[in-house]
Amino acid sequence: MRVNQRMTATVATAAVLGLTLAACGGSGDGGDGGSASGSADQVEVFTWWAAGSEKAGLDALVGVFNEQHPDIEFVNGAVAGGAGSAAKDLLQTRLQAQDPPDTFQAHAGAELQDYIDAAQIEDVSDLYDEFGLTDVFPADLVDRLSTEDGAIYSIPSNIHRANVVWANPTVLEDNGVDPEATYDDLDAWMADLDKLDKAGVTALSVGTTWTQVNLLETVLLADLGPEAYSGLWDGSTDWEGPEVKAALEDFETLMSYTNDDRDGLDWPEATQMVIDGSAAFNVMGDWAVAAFEEQDKVLGTDFTAAPVPGTDGVFDFLADSFTLPVGAPHPDGAKAWLETVGSLDGQVAFNKAKGSIPARTDADPADFSEYQQTAIDSFANDTIVSSLAHGAAAPVATLNAISDATSKFTTGASDLAGYQSELAAATQS
């Protein structure tokens, strides 16, 4: 009996010890990065580019990085899942625990505001001067990226355009709509959409809430024009005004031409409807071109791409970019990475593989695909405005509130007036 008791005691002690040791082991891991502080022997790059063309782009960029900085080891911190939401979740936790990666991917623009307010990322505007980026990025873009006091918090690696409408010419022709037609404004376009709708096809395909927000922002842009649209985000355009109301009415009409199962679809399924010919039009950012090209569709014959009617001459931009977190374990490594991201070689290699276009204007368009060439041309010449759905125009909390209001409206739980006042409230906070 006594032996038994002693044994129990021993086992219990061992268990306690084991747990304590395990706890120590756990904390040891975190300290690992800190010990090499300041050194430039490695760089952990945190992204959500873990698959498909995004991963191909990252691999190409790493190739250039290894050439430019052979003495720095690249550590891939990519987190897969949920179109970046899994990565953002983990990033939020790591920044909160003051265990930042050396650099992380984020949408350029207002989405960075939370990190800036929380003093989690550094101003990198001096790196713009050091790397000579101010002259090679379009002035419009640098304006959009700068905060009010002139600071810039990230370096963009690529540019996408959100105001593109994709169409299937065969479907248009079969239903008596001229596939060559260009539309000056939404009204002209909606007349044809109405015709398609009456013919029994899905005139406009759309997916879940964020794609509806993407559609909403292009409608606002078309009806208000670039200046008033940008004013929505700095308070100079009145959300409660009659112009916005008219735009929301157009949005309501457009939504009435869309597919019923939209809330269950993400963008690839919505775009697929145009590829398959079950829908005529789809408004989506220009990453959709990859979906067409993967299935050997040819621009001009199998599908067409144009700016959303009423937004010709305006480039609704969004960009992925890289930051310099406060307290990064290897700031020199991070700066080397940022240099590669901003460099011409890096931007060309990355964007050729990913299907986006360089933020730099000095890249040779001949290196890129047919669609990319038109985008490069527009980016250099058009008025540039910030995309809402992709974090360039408004902080995360505002975007979430707008998304909630939009979902409420498109499922029929609120009327237009309620929607408008919810949008106004969302942008005021």
């Binding site: 219990a12 995360v396 979430n400 998304s403 499922t411």
Partner: protein, 300 residues
Amino acid sequence: MLNKLRRVGPPLLMLAPSLILLGVFVYGLIAANFTTSLTDNHTAAQATGQKPAVLVWFTNYIDLLASEDFQHSLMNLVLYTVVFLVGTMIMGFLWAWMLEKPVKGEGLFRSVYLFPMAVSFVASGVVWRWLLNSNQDEQASGLNRLFQIVGLDALQNNWWNNVTFGIIAIAIPAIWQLSGYVMALFLAGFRGIPEELREAARMDGASEWKLYRHVLFPQLSPVALSALIIIGHMSLKAFDLIMSISKPANYQTKVPAVDMFVFKSSFDYANAAAVGSILLIIVAIVIVPYLIRTNREEKR
């Protein structure tokens, strides 16, 4: 004294690790969550201490409960829970009742009914998202298509995309997954009733209905209560199934757990914590009376 230590010491030492872990990671974090919910910590800057967060007591709770959107989430939660509970209890009981009589291949049926429980909500959600596709008529797929094929066109509906009752459609896969579990509970209950009781009732001339009403049902009621509690608290925490069928931003399928997720991703920690506390309180209202009751019974 030394004797007493010898008697109490080792068990206490054995329990210490789990007590400490529970104390820190469950009760400590509940306390931390509750404290956060009483502040105005609505931005990333406040969460990292760049701007001060002040105590606002129950303002967050009052604002949340007064907001139309959160009321909609709570209403969805109630609808979902009621349908989920009633559905699993009825299906589970029926299956158990059928298998309770000696049937050929009982083991097989038992496994077949229990099997969906082994599938994760996320995996089955992906399949059910397709089955519950809301397209109708020409573009229909999934269940709506099936209705067309068998000539029940009138039954086509937009499933979870209905603003008011959409959440009920998501209860269907949940019922499908957990009815087998309730069946297993009831089956165990049935098996626990001694044959003599039935015989005695029949000897006394009880009809089959009376036998169930006065002999078997009372014996099954503790099992039914356990099943209700287990399914009920699972239902209140519903998140993964909803997330994999719908999307967090979809208004029609919002429940408090989804709200919590959206608040958290907007860096609104105070509201996320407040929603968490509200959920905890709702679950506690269901579970605590049950725990007290079982405790009392065990003492008896």
